[in-house]
Symmetry: C2
Subunit: 103 residues, 2 copies
């Protein structure tokens, strides 16, 4: 049975908006994380709600919870978090959506 | 030009989880809000990240910012917010994603 999860993280960077370091972080995130097995529809967003002051968002889908677990423990993800995320992200919040059947 | 927005709100209800009042709120939200012109792919979610303690999520897409503005001012949305949201939602956070072109 399909149990699609939309995994999202909204974040701010320590770099200036529209700077080469911001561009590089977003591009590397897309390149590195989107190639991890099980990741579908990886997207890079601007967070634009005026009621929310985070600036960027990454979003991806997983068809199964097991794919999400594999992603979290994948070496490419672990090293991206350690080498880039922890050094360049000022703050973040995760949001994970799983479909709820409403009758 | 297409400028798709994913509009999301994560929230907690004043009602008990898995109660008839919770079911009714989520069902009415789906029924009422998904029928507003311009709303695409309205979804009801459980928010399942352990790093985030909101319980539910609504998500919808708009093809254009103008559709999002029309939704916000639509009488069905305004009355849902006034008659249901403000009375039954304990707290909430909005997240709006707009695609960012990463080169």
């Amino acid at each position: 049975m399909m149990e699609t999860i939309q995994h999202m993280v909204i974040f701010d960077l320590i770099h200036a908006v529209e700077s080469p370091l911001t561009d590089k972080f977003l591009k590397d995130g897309l390149t590195i994380l989107s190639q991890i097995p099980g990741v579908k529809n990886f997207q890079v967003y601007n967070q634009i709600s005026p009621k929310n002051d985070f600036t960027y968002g990454f979003s991806m889908n997983f068809d199964h919870a097991a794919d999400f677990e594999s992603y979290n423990s994948h070496p490419a993800h672990v090293s991206f978090v350690q080498d880039r995320w922890m050094k360049e992200v000022a703050r973040f919040q995760e949001i994970d959506f799983k479909s709820l059947i409403v009758r």
